[in-house]
Symmetry: D2
Subunit: 325 residues, 4 copies
């Protein structure tokens, strides 16, 4: 069978390697190139397959129908442009084209936000898809049903305490990410609502109906390789008898969204392209509040898997093709 050639820029990072591995197992795609300056000329085994890295400059962009850009934030926009000039469509895994990005000069119609389950309609015709960040994916898919239904207390703050495995920080040789520093530790970072993903979450929250709801977000670094768990508390106008019904309705038929009775754990979602969500009513408080727990694999549903969902839509393939549910 003829396979569609696709390429990956930034292919030696954690998200890039995950992409190469998924592409190798995809029934309708083949890897035209894997570019990574620091690994140029080297071979690497990724799962059961092998890649040979080329320099980014040497990537044959015109050979790929879709280019995935998994480059550092800020460095991506230029290469998205290069890929477009070579006729490729692009799924960009950086934050350069996402809602809330300050320097983004491209219109949303050109680069729609690829939170696929919620914004599927605009993807097939797009030139560029702005693939969501890992934390925003976990959070926005979890709170969207409440926002769309108008159940959040007006003016209330949506409070998120989230924790990510270390691959979320990228494949960079920072001393604070060494095994002997991370093991047996746990800490918060970007404390004070300062994380760079907040603008993205805030902007999409407004789009989804939370016009006057602020996001308060505190991320933490977990001593695990992969996975994000977000614990979200949302003041609501009133309790319903079965609060998760709203989510089941909103995501009926979605293969990559799981509404769970028990709080999800990282173990439930790693190496799978799903978000798994549980909803509970807070007891012992006067202000009715829902506690939503959301879990994803930051490298799959939070990066490479969702990117492939979007690429499948760009190419007219089944959205589920090549994706481990």
């Amino acid at each position: 069978m003829h396979k569609v050639p696709v390429g990956v820029l930034g292919a030696s990072g954690y998200a890039g390697r995950e992409l190469c591995g998924l592409i190798a197992q995809h029934p309708a795609l083949e890897l035209a190139f894997a570019a990574a300056n620091d690994q140029r000329g080297r071979r690497a085994r990724i799962g059961a397959s092998e890649v040979t890295y080329v320099a980014t400059e040497d990537a044959p962009l015109n050979k790929a129908e879709v280019v995935f850009t998994a480059l550092p934030h800020g460095a991506s926009a230029k290469w998205v442009g290069n890929a477009r000039e070579n006729g490729a469509r692009v799924v960009d895994l950086s934050s350069d084209f996402r809602p809330g990005a300050v320097a983004n000069a491209i219109s949303k119609s050109q680069a729609p936000y690829g939170l696929t389950e919620l914004m599927r309609a605009k993807i097939p015709g797009a030139e560029i898809v702005a693939n969501p960040g890992c934390y925003p994916t976990a959070v926005l898919l979890a709170i969207a049903p409440l926002l769309k239904a108008g159940c959040v207390v007006p003016g209330a703050t949506i409070n998120i305490s989230a924790a990510s495995g270390v691959t979320g920080a990228g494949y960079s040789a920072r001393p604070d990410l060494l095994f002997a520093e991370v093991a047996e530790d746990f800490k918060a970072y970007a404390v004070g609502n300062e994380h760079r993903h907040i603008a993205e979450m805030q902007a999409v929250t407004r789009e989804l109906g939370g016009k006057d709801n602020d996001i308060l977000f505190t991320p933490h670094l977990l001593p695990v390789a992969r996975g994000i768990l977000a614990t979200i508390t949302v003041p609501v106008n009133e309790y319903t008898s079965d609060p998760s019904a709203l989510w089941r309705d909103c995501y009926r038929g979605e293969p990559f969204v799981e509404i769970a009775d028990e709080p999800p754990s990282l173990r439930d979602v790693v190496r799978r392209n799903v978000v798994r969500v549980s909803i509970a009513k807070a007891a012992n408080v006067r202000q009715p509040t829902l506690i939503i727990i959301s879990a994803i694999d930051n490298l799959v549903k939070g990066a490479a898997g969702q990117a492939l969902q979007n690429a499948n839509l760009l190419l007219g393939l089944s959205e589920q093709a090549g994706l481990p549910a």
Copy 2:
């Protein structure tokens, strides 16, 4: 030098072993007995010392001036009574005598709450000290300055997302605590504000001034052996220029409380009898909110270390004796 004999009931659990290790290094205490039914007759090395376990029934309670009861919740009250009948004073590490405990028939004057830094006055003369829970220690020491100063928005919910190492669940052979189940995982539990420590936190919050503030608490299980990190968000009436000044004032001269400029990590506090707290103002939200991060070692400041602080006070010793700051 003459040393004061003390005994430990429940000495084979994680808190009990920590206590035995601290007592072995204490300059003024000696271990009269270490009781643990499941280990009776066995020797165990704890740090650089060794203990020989006796059955709980065989513990020579009358030989100890202070008995530490590190027994399961519910099983402790009876043994506290036995120790009292034998003339010993008791530091009880269970929840049986703590604020909020339902079946507690003993008055608070008989069994004061041993959150030492905040309630030091009542300890020296007590017969029984109700040693605080690990989560309440991390949370209450962190929010007390705000509550006492009346800075919390009336009626506001105090939101706590906390994570604990697995020793917090005790030394019990549960399949869900096996290495292969916990490693690389992270999950919430007691979701819905249902944790049994909530009554304790809520009761003390009221005592400290938070008359109409509810506690919303979601604990998580971390893949680490020891340590608790609590991320606490508190709506406040207004921001001050240096929010941590309130904490520095409140805890001036306290050897076991550290107010940090950077968010504390577990690594900062493990094997030390301290609580380490940072305070930050939330940006990008309309409701002024402080984000307080609090870290303790659940087995030291959250259990055995604080118990020793209280025992030191009971015995008229320096509160810091034998404690690693």
Copy 3:
């Protein structure tokens, strides 16, 4: 397409769950039953699929063409008999029918040893396949080429230091397997050449040509969930220029054996049905000695994956069907 029904006894242990997960993804097999007494009536998610456990007594053995017995050593033989009486062929993952098993009253022709790459011929016609132990799989596939070529110094001891992840100890709630006990630790066990797998390794070593070579084996417990690494030193008669040539010849065309230039790590093999082996000449010693490093996933090539290889052969399917290489 019609799928062949197979069943699993002992389906809630680590090897049993791995089998159920592999069967769910197998193109030609379907799960007729998953039996586990301690989980009877419960549902469990395994990867992307779900199983409902039945009691072992209630397993419809006659509905399965192949039954996998993943029961404790000693308990398996009886159920292998029951399955046979119901007309099923059996792949037995216990040690009950393996070479060296003391109480094994069944002839080797009835229950051939399923070290597939080396003993493939006898599997298709077998009633029972004795699936190899995890350590023997890692060790025997690694040393077989040397033994068959007669290169080992006569009378020399083959020295093996091996380390296994904790799933090798099974899904049993032992206090010494708790996260807080295993994390940050490492230790040897069965020291003194006392491990119960030694008889199996010794017996097969003799069959493969090591008539007068003894096995000296020291296993260790690793703080990882899965994976075995065996470091094997073998005195040889002389060095050849490329020592790995012997292995490449021996395993030419084998999809599940990888001869590597660099020492393999667990990361290279987890979740894959492969053994990965490297060979190096010892420098700085007078006695020529090869250092062979062998890595497998103890639950895949060391248990469920190899069992499926054997089942594929029993059923006349492609040996690779359903197996992640």
Copy 4:
């Protein structure tokens, strides 16, 4: 009480930090300086104390009676010379002056090897002490009794499979030491008897009596922060009824050597200045062979703790002063 000023060069690495922490708790020493070029001007908390780093060039070498050099191998010799010119005596933690070091132009009488328990006599009068490597400490203390007693089979190879926590690789930001690379992994390195510690082990083995015994050493990288476990097999002339008697005799009265009945684990030795050794006879082999398991904390007995033992001897203090046994 007057304390003796000592200084640390290379104070920001793992061994250097451990040294600073031990010095802070030492009853008779005080830290004159902590030098680390990459941290110059920064403050760091180490345990309960704090240090302010100076540049190596700015270290006031003449203010210290003993200088500890914890610099990279090769870079140390020059600074040892500088310290000597400033009148300080030196404990050198690098390999520059150890037995087997190729470029070592200094005589052994000037720089004796500081394997304290075995070579205590030469330390007090030394100008420079060559502090042993971590692996050699674990191995040589374990095999010395056998070598000295002449029990090893002449010409036999002493086979060592050892595993170290990642702090053994130093505090260097290498991608292969990142948490996400090391966790859940295990691998051998320097395979082929090529580790740079082999010359040191081989030279001292000869000194201790193993004139014609070769060392075959394969190290591994463990997913733990600290600790070394060495599994050593030694062919012996014959078995005695109690093989560990030889070790108990050899190390009688030594506070930092523990002869154990059960195989030691890392957990037994971390944060303690001890080597813990067990001895077992190999069953099921024709060649009598002892299996010796040896465990140390690579940063304490394998580096900073042993360095302090040696400094105590240099300064005429109790050898045990300031050391956690």
